[in-house]
């Protein structure tokens, strides 16, 4: 029986700006069960990163605020928790890996110190034990010479290695959920594969769930069990991975899948690369109806008038579209 670890219900994370209220996340439902890998896809600005950071409440609260919704972690709502309580959840229960390994590590401390810091904090280790633990984590993520490398600074590692360090740091306290926010976007393609493999290996070893945020459909197809598609702050489709790729129902999802470059097909039929026309609408004053309507080739009057609800069209497959 699958156990629901994370259950986001109707989350609305808004930002107060000079130009108005930006509705970065505008009513998002998402759940993750123990041990599963869920992919969250969408183009830049659709709210996936804000969703991820909202889970750990890493949003700057003066401009940002939780307008509505709940973030249930093992049944407990995280939103009302204060900083101290939140700090018990961070790294220990839920960990996060960011997109830019170059800037995500503090340049003035050694890698060992940074990993040891989180281990000592949550596992009550002394400095020596924590450093040993750090070396062990580096070994786990396949960084050669870990005993020596813990004394090196982040700038002495390459991008791919830095991301491994980030992963080591995130997993050091054996969290139940790892949120990976575009972990491979900033890396070379060959390194990307290695990192994804590493994450898979870690997941199997520790039995943890992964929330993988990306805009690369190819990555999702390879690694995820379930996929959530977001657009302009809302979830527009959600399905098990095979079904999403096999029969995508939302026009946006269809467009995303169609726009994956397929070298074999292009070679045979000399197709042009398909792109979805138009740009993401402003999250300041979102249109009342379906937010994809402006770019959708099947849009009708009904689409523009009101926001379609999320409907289950087949078991586990939800779509927010009138079609």
């Amino acid at each position: 029986m699958a156990e629901t670890l994370l259950d986001i219900r109707g989350l609305k994370t808004w930002f107060k700006t000079d130009d108005g209220m930006v509705r970065a996340v505008d009513g998002v439902d998402l759940h993750i069960e123990r041990g599963e890998t869920v992919g969250v896809v969408g183009e830049s600005g659709c709210g996936k990163t804000v969703t991820a950071r909202s889970v750990l409440k890493l949003i700057d609260m003066p401009p940002g605020r939780f307008e509505d919704g709940q973030i249930l972690w093992q049944g407990r709502d995280l939103i009302p928790l204060d900083q101290d309580e939140m700090n018990q959840v961070r790294a220990r229960e839920i960990a996060i890996v960011f997109q830019e390994p170059m800037t995500s590590l503090n340049p003035v401390y050694t890698v060992g110190e940074q990993i040891a810091e989180v281990m000592a904090l949550h596992q009550k280790l002394n400095r020596k034990q924590a450093l040993e633990g750090a070396a062990e984590m580096l070994r786990l993520v396949n960084i050669p010479n870990p005993q020596r490398r813990i004394h090196d600074y982040p700038h002495q590692f390459s991008g791919g290695m830095r991301q491994r360090v980030m992963i080591a740091m995130a997993l050091s306290c054996r969290p139940k959920l790892l949120i990976a926010d575009e972990p491979t976007t900033a890396l070379d393609v060959t390194i990307q594969a290695q990192i994804l493999e590493l994450m898979q290996e870690m997941k199997e070893r520790f039995g943890m769930a992964i929330m993988l945020i990306t805009h690369a459909m190819g990555v999702v197809a390879e690694t995820c069990q379930r996929v959530v598609v977001m657009y302009a702050g809302k979830v527009v489709e959600e399905a098990p991975v095979r079904e999403l790729f096999g029969s995508p129902r939302h026009p946006y999802t269809q467009g995303l899948i169609r726009s994956i470059p397929r070298v074999d097909r292009a070679a045979k039929r000399k197709e042009r690369l398909e792109a979805i026309p138009g740009t993401v609408p402003s999250l300041l004053e979102p249109p009342p109806g379906c937010r994809f309507a402006a770019r959708c080739r099947h849009a009708t009057d009904i689409c523009v008038r009101g926001m379609p609800p999320l409907k289950e069209v087949s078991p586990g497959h939800f779509v927010r579209c009138v079609l």
Binding site: F15, K16, T17, D18, D19, V22, A24, S44, G45, C46, G47, T49, V50, I59, D60, P62, P63, G64, A232, T279, V280, P281, S282, L283, L284
Partner: protein
């Protein structure tokens, strides 16, 4: 640097520090709404949000008006000696009191203001002129000339300003006096040296602007259309550097006023009979116990002028150059 938080907090509450990407690309309608404002109007709008900067602008305007027009309205002579009235506190006849020779402090402060203002502006022009020139040349040429000029800038930055200023005054005082007359000579010397020691920041800014814009598309386009190098510079590159240079210029005025006052205070600036603010303060310091109004008036003049210029500079920085946080 992500985000456009105004660094100075005299501005009102800021835009979001972490803003999702979507906001950075407004829709067509929103963009059209904002296009009505030209960059200068935008800057003015941002400047207006700084209450302190606006207040300072008002104060400065009043001061400048007083300095320029004042002597025509307040016709008490600056050097009318009247021992009977010496060292008196503020009164209707002498709003800022009198000094040890019975001279009216208000009239002397107003006169001193003219000198400070003149020195400040002139030194600023020298600094900006040299700075922009060096920066432009440096930015346009590549390799060796650029390296040499920047090395020179670094060198000048490590020169101890006041000692060097004093040294130059000491060595050249007499010869300049012979050429320009006592006041003129000092004026030229102070302006040239102060300005000559402050060109580096402006040069850096202009050069940086050149380096970043040189390769940009619209310059390429201009070049493709056959625009000569000078034309490129003047029409396309310099206007973009204008913002930070204006900010640097304001700071230069304040710094020049302080430098000139310091020199006069030390007795090494203008001839002693000229009532610059620094000289007034220097004369007043021996009577601090019995006639504090004298020192306070003179010092307050310098302070208010410099403070308002600094606030204005801060406001200008956020108006014209919002991305930099220093």
């Amino acid at each position: 640097m992500p985000g456009s938080t105004p660094a100075s907090l005299s501005a009102e509450a800021p835009a979001a520090v972490v803003v999702p990407d979507a906001v950075a690309t407004p829709t067509a309608t929103a963009a059209r709404k904002r296009q009505r404002f030209s960059p200068w109007q935008e800057a003015w709008r941002r400047f207006r949000r700084h209450k302190l900067a606006v207040a300072s602008a008002v104060v400065l305007l009043i001061m400048v008006a007083a300095i320029v027009i004042g002597p025509f309205l307040w016709t008490v002579p600056i050097n009318e000696i009247d021992f009977a009235a010496k060292l008196q506190g503020p009164s209707w006849a002498h709003p800022l009191g009198t000094d040890d020779l019975g001279q009216d402090v208000l009239a002397r402060v107003l006169y001193g203001g003219r000198i400070s203002l003149a020195v400040g502006l002139a030194a600023m022009f020298v600094a900006i002129f040299v700075g922009v020139l060096v920066g432009a040349v440096s930015g346009m040429s590549s390799g060796r000339l650029d390296a040499v000029l920047m090395w020179l800038a670094d060198l000048f930055l490590s020169l101890p300003q006041l000692p060097l200023l004093l040294l130059v005054i000491y060595l050249f005082r007499d010869s300049l006096k012979a050429v320009f007359g006592p006041e003129g000579g000092i004026f030229v010397m102070i302006v040239v040296v102060i300005g000559g020691l402050r060109w580096m920041p402006a040069a850096r800014l202009v050069r940086a602007q050149f380096l970043s814009i040189r390769e940009k598309e619209f310059v390429e386009a201009a070049r493709a259309l056959g625009a000569s190098k000078v034309r490129q510079v003047v029409q396309h590159i310099l206007p973009n550097a204008l913002g930070p240079v204006i900010v640097a210029a304001t700071i230069d005025v304040a710094a020049a006023i302080i430098a000139e006052s310091t020199l006069s205070f030390l007795g090494l600036g203008f001839p002693p009979d000229i009532p610059t603010w620094g000289r007034l303060l220097s004369d007043a310091k021996d009577y601090l116990d019995i006639a504090p109004h004298w020192a306070l008036a003179s010092g307050a003049a310098i302070f208010l002028a410099v403070l308002s210029i600094n606030f204005i500079g801060d406001g200008l920085r956020d108006a014209l150059d919002p991305r930099r946080v220093l």
